[in-house]
Subunit: 672 residues, 3 copies
Amino acid sequence: MINSKLPKIWYGGDYNPEQWEKDIWDEDVRMFKLAGIDVATLNVFSWALNQPDEETYDFTILDEQIDRLYKNGIYTCLATSTAAHPAWMAKKYPDVLRVDYQGRKRKFGGRHNSCPNSPTYRKYAERMADRLGERYSDHPGVLIWHVNNEYGGYCYCDNCATSFRKWLQKKYNHLDNVNKAWNTRFWGHTFYDWDEIVPPNELSEEWGGSSTAFQGISLDYRIFQSDSLLDCFKLERDVLKKHNPHIPVTTNLMGTYRELDYFKWGKEMDVVSWDNYPAYDTPVSLTAMRHDLMRGLKSGQPFMLMEQTPSQQNWQPYNSLKRPGVMRLWSYQAVARGADTVMFFQLRRSVGACEKYHGAVIEHVGHENTRVFRETAELGKELSQLSDRLLDSRLDAKVAIVFDWENRWATELSSGPSKALDYVKEVHNYYAALYEQNIPVDMVGVDEDLSEYDIVIAPVLYMVKPGYAKKLEKFVENGGTFVTTFFSGIVNEHDLVTLGGYPGELRNLLGIWVEEIDALPPENKNEIVVKNEVGKLKGSYECSLLFDIIHSEGAEVLAEYGSDFYANTPVVTSNQFGKGKALYVGTVPDKEFLSDFLSTICEEKGVSPLLETPKGVEVTEREKDGRVYLFVMNHNSMEVQVNVGEATDLLTGERVAGTISINGHGVMILEK
Amino acid sequence: MINSKLPKIWYGGDYNPEQWEKDIWDEDVRMFKLAGIDVATLNVFSWALNQPDEETYDFTILDEQIDRLYKNGIYTCLATSTAAHPAWMAKKYPDVLRVDYQGRKRKFGGRHNSCPNSPTYRKYAERMADRLGERYSDHPGVLIWHVNNEYGGYCYCDNCATSFRKWLQKKYNHLDNVNKAWNTRFWGHTFYDWDEIVPPNELSEEWGGSSTAFQGISLDYRIFQSDSLLDCFKLERDVLKKHNPHIPVTTNLMGTYRELDYFKWGKEMDVVSWDNYPAYDTPVSLTAMRHDLMRGLKSGQPFMLMEQTPSQQNWQPYNSLKRPGVMRLWSYQAVARGADTVMFFQLRRSVGACEKYHGAVIEHVGHENTRVFRETAELGKELSQLSDRLLDSRLDAKVAIVFDWENRWATELSSGPSKALDYVKEVHNYYAALYEQNIPVDMVGVDEDLSEYDIVIAPVLYMVKPGYAKKLEKFVENGGTFVTTFFSGIVNEHDLVTLGGYPGELRNLLGIWVEEIDALPPENKNEIVVKNEVGKLKGSYECSLLFDIIHSEGAEVLAEYGSDFYANTPVVTSNQFGKGKALYVGTVPDKEFLSDFLSTICEEKGVSPLLETPKGVEVTEREKDGRVYLFVMNHNSMEVQVNVGEATDLLTGERVAGTISINGHGVMILEK
Amino acid sequence: MINSKLPKIWYGGDYNPEQWEKDIWDEDVRMFKLAGIDVATLNVFSWALNQPDEETYDFTILDEQIDRLYKNGIYTCLATSTAAHPAWMAKKYPDVLRVDYQGRKRKFGGRHNSCPNSPTYRKYAERMADRLGERYSDHPGVLIWHVNNEYGGYCYCDNCATSFRKWLQKKYNHLDNVNKAWNTRFWGHTFYDWDEIVPPNELSEEWGGSSTAFQGISLDYRIFQSDSLLDCFKLERDVLKKHNPHIPVTTNLMGTYRELDYFKWGKEMDVVSWDNYPAYDTPVSLTAMRHDLMRGLKSGQPFMLMEQTPSQQNWQPYNSLKRPGVMRLWSYQAVARGADTVMFFQLRRSVGACEKYHGAVIEHVGHENTRVFRETAELGKELSQLSDRLLDSRLDAKVAIVFDWENRWATELSSGPSKALDYVKEVHNYYAALYEQNIPVDMVGVDEDLSEYDIVIAPVLYMVKPGYAKKLEKFVENGGTFVTTFFSGIVNEHDLVTLGGYPGELRNLLGIWVEEIDALPPENKNEIVVKNEVGKLKGSYECSLLFDIIHSEGAEVLAEYGSDFYANTPVVTSNQFGKGKALYVGTVPDKEFLSDFLSTICEEKGVSPLLETPKGVEVTEREKDGRVYLFVMNHNSMEVQVNVGEATDLLTGERVAGTISINGHGVMILEK
């Protein structure tokens, strides 16, 4: 349990009473109670308020808020306020300001604005955490620490340059090792002194955000910046822990956010929390994948849904309302995939500045007679009824999909073979095919133990880190099924090619050699022609973008290309290896292929769907103490029929059996 | 009359003899006379010529030009030459150079290049105006002062930062008021010292030109920069007036130009003038709207058409020729909507630099045997015949459309609900529906008296300034019809939301509450289903982009949505209020709806079309001393038939009656 | 012959052994021999290696490489390594770093990174060339000097500003001449001191890369920057020649690369070399045109194909493989159009950094059992068989197409009439029509003697340099046929309009006056209606974009517009002038028109196709010592039949006669 003070699914969200006059505070509490809200995230952006100048700290308002809420039965998720430095600090100590990707020293403004290697920022951020830890660590209303907010973005200032050189010295010891890792003999970039190294941005090695002349330095800089921000997090965490080691510490992550290696972050956090903001056109399977990824950061441990909007966002191009029932549906989707909290940004909608058109529990109209409030209050009531029954329950998956940020960065930084290659999209293609069949998946990092899985899928495993090939071989030897794709096994952890033939370290396991990789514009299609029908896999499918030219070195050829000069050569292969097998998909296949391919593989391994459902119905299972909770979620706007077997409806307490109806956007939680 | 020295529609344009050798000057005059040209705008870009260094002023060429033209019956519109500072000044006093939106200090080059808060620029611009005023104020050939040229653009330099802080101190008195107006508690942006405030650009709060983290500061900076440039104008105007208060002073504006609040500018000018440059794909109704807007800046007072091209532009992506007759047609369109001058850029086409492919009365070929010259000369003859008959005549409209630059900036700066929202486009949608029915419209600012109008339309009246809701209520109470739309009544003059329910201060007047605003991508359509047929309004129409979810609080529901979860809820309402009514359109309707809706409203108020005409025929009326002049303009390339009643054709002197033919691109001016 | 040490078509490419451990070097040589490779380009990016600090030079590795290769029968194309300065130099002497178009001082990184006017760069580049010249000029293995690499890009730093002013002083003598040439009276830009002139970039006169407020300064800056880089080339060349005047000197150019005026460069090089990198969607006729252009730089002298990829590139959006046979086909295309070398980038594929996915003779797999290597080795064998038979043979063309970089820059910098105008595309349109008919073409600069040609085509001859109109008149007087198009004859060498009527200095020759130029969006079409059928020219064709309104002043009207207000006015004219004629095409015609038009003109002049072939078959002829070699190249993937007459197949030695088959992507070299 995240914190046993509140043994239920926490319900609440970001609350900024400091933006309001006092007369509204009582009204807030009245409405929170009406909505069943029991947790409020305070102090997210109050640095300037709490520390009006270099010497003065003033927590009067914060004291009052925490007490007042606690007296009314509402707990505090306490932020450290270091996500946006005060204007006076920027004026007095410009080192807190970042230099951007274009090489420009920024002025005061915006958010995520502090340089992570600024001595001033680190000093005052740590000091603020210290003051807060000292003051509130033992407050009975405080449930958890929320450090900073949505860490992100990179800096390219001189302090970062200096820190980068130190970081490199620690990582590489000798400059020779740097030159080798970055292959600086290419284009005569050899460094003879650490000071010659400058951060890679538009003034030096990079352009356009993810294009670079030297993948090595660009990759290292991403790792360094992610680490620098993580150091900032650890700095605050450690000082907070000093005051009271029992209060858990988190910071809110952002799903598949590009800039930070969240698997490293997860290890440093007591509990993972994240902010779920699907756009109007985000597939619901991608949201599901992000939940699973966040759960995977700490190997399946339940996480917090720290933020979602009650209805509308403001920063999308088109900010559609969540249709009636959808906020509840998506809240349960989070819970169904491992969340033990349901929290909003925000509890009261701000009156000015750039988020005033972002939805809130209390809208600008200010009263409870709104659709959004009613839906919030209804969900609040349900969550109270659920009590602690779901808390700490776990999901069980026999299929793992590998996700790795460094690999992602490396594929994005690659010059060639195709600009159309999108790592997250390719991973999601595989995820979605399983999602649609209600087959549970764990999203795992490369450090994860694989022994409990039957199937491991690693789309575009371009970078193979030290030891990982061996780990995969052992997994397959022991009977596992491994699936990977085109553009895998190409480079090591420095983005240096593994010489001797693609897919490099995976060649032995896969029993193939990839001689060439053709890359064509999206409109050019080829076909995957199945050689011998197996399971659902038969006939031919469409494929595009990248086309490996494959030689079998022992692997069975499951399918061949249908056209072009490599027609009738292998495109999908399967290699028996020990007790298991290793499959390779040498192109970007269409949806139908992935559906048939993966269901055939799962069937072979005895991995079955949780439930057979109509299209658009999502199913997951959480389990605790031998009790199994089945979540059935209808993403269609129309009613559907689902055969659920025999179970108890957790929300109504009624017994259900056989085929039942679920309303459009409806949810059932069934105890089997 | 602008200046009684030339009691007719002035005909001429920009003339830059200083770019040419003397031998061409006599030829110019010969051709001007052939073309009926009687006014030349001189000295627009001659600062470097007139002031070759800091100490020296030399007006030899200008003296010669004004005299020579005057001797030949051609008057001078005299520019002050301060639109582009000399290179020597930029070199010696870099404070005249702007810092751009990207935060870069500019070097010498381009146009509109002076910082409006540069002490050097202000000093020398004022001094130049003083010298010119002293020298030419009493010259019999000088008709009017033309200060600077097409003022525009913003600067973000340190001088502007300092001036901005002073401007804020004057506007807000205390920093607390700034913090409150900008809601700086959001994201912890509280300022404790004026010096902490920096201009909002890509280095601080803004990005992409119209995106901002803080609407408050961005809005104030726009007002400040518009005011700064206006201060520059006033500086020159005042010193010119000192020499001779009887010479009118203007500067040329640019229609719906974004950066300047022209309603403020209009108040400071003796006569409004503007430059009309429709692109190849500008609807003719938008040009009409811009003329009406320019006329509205001084409450209907006739204005100057300062610039238009005789045929071709050069800075559009595709610079199409004006088809035969179109230059004449569009010149009369200006006159028909209130212009008392017809002037060109330019009289002779330049031989080099970036405007050499911009059309001119005298083309590069240099002689009069061109289509363009012939058309120019024919129009010159007609304008001579018209003499002073149309001068100072007025247009009379019973319908006003509200246009407000601060409101426009606020909607553009808004983060959410939809990036597809375009203020000018929405205003034009309403304008065009009336334009196509030949119903006269005044474009009015928010300071305009409304009592003379029957109908006031304020599309997207997002920002309601102090007192304006009361003004509208009074207008309706007294029997007026008021129309507004979605995203109205939301914020006050600081872009702070009016709490308590949308549409805020307009809620009482409109008799509705808008609970939610849905925003969908453009391809998502809904329907406006009319409840009870009234006038032309019946059946159903298409709508898109934004969809208010409306509760009637007394208003009659005229139409409902046809689909989505808000099907059968109000989309168009009408509220009886005192003797009048207030209508609300909660979405972006299609053209057909606006046509039927507005013609129904006009009919109810007895506002009739000036004439029933075929599509593509524009009609206006100017009136003076009891005489009514009807302009009938055929924008079609084919001949049309129009029933004009009985009248005298002002250009031929002939009587016409009943249905007559008008040639493709033809114009008739009829005295009734 | 480029160098008689190696009297055959050189075969090899870029080789970077310094990027590899020594153990791989022997393997390289073994494989080079297998592939028939006899030349390696060394030392391209080894500055940092050869000069590890300011004082130290160390050529150990280079010594070893040149010797080792030479001992194995492989010659060296020796680069000077000055294309990328060392990191230590950037750190110690920041003047070597460029300031970019956005006005930003760059840091160390990327390529093409040295300021051409940096004193440090010039000093050390010259010194490096001196050291290399001293050391290797007399090495028996050294065939040619390869200075720098792919010179390109511009700099806008203060050193460039100073040099630009000096360059201007030399060109114009007096500032008055600059003011006149740039027409600075426009917008009051008059300069009173040389120091007031600043480089034109986004901080001053330009934006978006090719938009400018003053064409004059922008044009001069392009000439200046191209000259500055050329000065760098000459500096190295001269010092190399000092050591041994008999070793030829080249640098690798890039076809239709925008930034450098290659006709000036060609004059300074002993032999032209270039890098041929067609994108996946480059028409094969455009590659052909680039070969012809490179041949034209030195009036037909054979050139070097310095770089091409064996199969794949890496920096295109989609990097498709060269299909089987295509590398050979395109290699022979180069030879067929004048190349006396076939060279690759690169011999061994790099293991890291941004070109590791660029193809190479030795791929990452490292062995010879690849499709790419086999094709390379087969071609190597053929080139050995060909021996010196083709060396120094010449192509003979009766048609010349004029290409001029300054004219290109001027059209690109022009503001108006149409952004859709693309000089290279327009030139290619005419080229492609002749290419498809197997009619040989020379691409010539404006300095080229025209007397040997029957037909000269100058599409979009916007800028007419001093004397060029006379040259064209003389050519036509003597019987030549001259063809030009819309937007020709407009300006002089300063981009100042030739007054008195378009097409200016060409008006007399063409016998027409162009009164107006209409510019319409691409979707607007008109028709070219032929008046009297002549040759293949008949009926009507489509045209678009630009439409000259033409008056014949003696020219025969061949075709008229079909619609719009200029329907039935001339669009294509032909003017008898002396013994020849001058034709004018006043619009952008469709492909069919150009095909019929140009074949009619060629037929009239007795210029015949080399061979009648099916579509997609390219034919050229090289001639030496009375022997004629016919290249027949099938760009189709399917086999075709071609009637080749009687000849000997140079590759098989067999006699062929009549209609023969050529495989898909096949090539035949026939001696007639």
